[in-house]
Point group: none
DNA sequence: TCGGTTTTGACCTTTACTGACTTTATTATA
DNA sequence: TATAATAAAGTCAGTAAAGGTCAAAACCGA
């Protein structure tokens, strides 16, 4: 059951994997032709699959010989990420959480099992509870989610250091 | 006398039996059409027959080319944890959580890192949030904690099987 | 006839995809 | 050298295609 979206994502990820420097330059129109879809479909893939919360940065230029550049952000140390989350991020949505956790897994900071545990806590579990709660409490849940992510990452940091 | 429910269950079970890896991906609408019933009937079958207590895990995605995935967990590893979930889990205090997680670690179900992650989510993180919240919401937090534990345990089970 | 189980339907949320329109850069030309 | 033509990419609102939820109706065995 793969959507067009999924196929394009896979294709681009593979391109990035095979590139020497974690970055590729593509042409929106070309990719759209290859997949026989509307060019704006590529934008959709970029915003949903290659955003910052998933560990990517996208740059582009319009006009003649325009391009789209996708860069995979490396994490060399976890610390800055945690301190960033600590300061700036207090209301994470499910999709953001999934993105960040996948990113950390890709970068080798956590195992697949750990990633699944983290998502279970922050996505599935909270969604279960949210059903039976006032809508006005939505904000609270974003806050709880952020708090959980932060504390879990602190643990990872600590252990990284202990070993 | 077989109900529609039973027929759908049998059908899905057979599909899973015949699948190489104890997991199938279906489309709710398609199955509903085949059995000429309301799509929500499929949800009913899933929640009553393919839940965790019966050894199944269901994942799904909405939207265009959405799907429903049913995974079967081997029952031997499942039993102690499930029977625990069935009884105890609706109102857990911090101390309970720590006890359970330690037990899981002792029994080799989870690693030390995983144990720390779980405690971070269920104890530290929730305590942080709780400070800034009405005392009357204590009950809610026990409930959230329970939900997180439950979902994390389900992941542990699932992964045990996937490897 | 009563309580649990099944079944349905109306309505909701999420995700994917497109097309018309806009913006920006390059290139050819008067 | 302006300016028009061309060749990109971006935006956004609208549509379609899924699956989810919940309460009410229907059914059924004791």
């Amino acid at each position: 059951m793969f959507s067009l979206c999924d196929s394009i994502e896979k294709y681009l990820v593979k391109l990035i994997e095979n590139s020497p420097n974690r970055a590729i330059v593509i042409q929106r129109g070309r990719i759209a032709q290859e997949f026989d879809c509307a060019p704006s479909q590529i934008n959709y893939v970029l915003t949903t699959r290659f955003n910052v919360f998933r560990g990517f940065i996208v740059e582009s230029r319009r006009g003649g010989s325009g391009y789209v550049k996708i860069i995979r952000i490396p994490i060399d140390r976890l610390e800055p990420v945690v301190s960033f989350l600590e300061k700036a991020v207090t209301d994470l949505k499910e999709a953001d959480v999934e993105g960040i956790v996948n990113w950390l897994e890709r970068e080798g900071f956590i195992t697949e099992r750990e990633a699944r545990l983290m998502k279970a806590a922050m996505v599935t579990a909270l969604n279960n509870v949210q059903c039976s709660v006032d809508q006005s409490d939505k904000k609270n849940f974003h806050f709880i989610r952020s708090s959980i992510l932060k504390e879990m990452l602190i643990q990872v940091l600590k252990m990284d250091f202990l070993e």
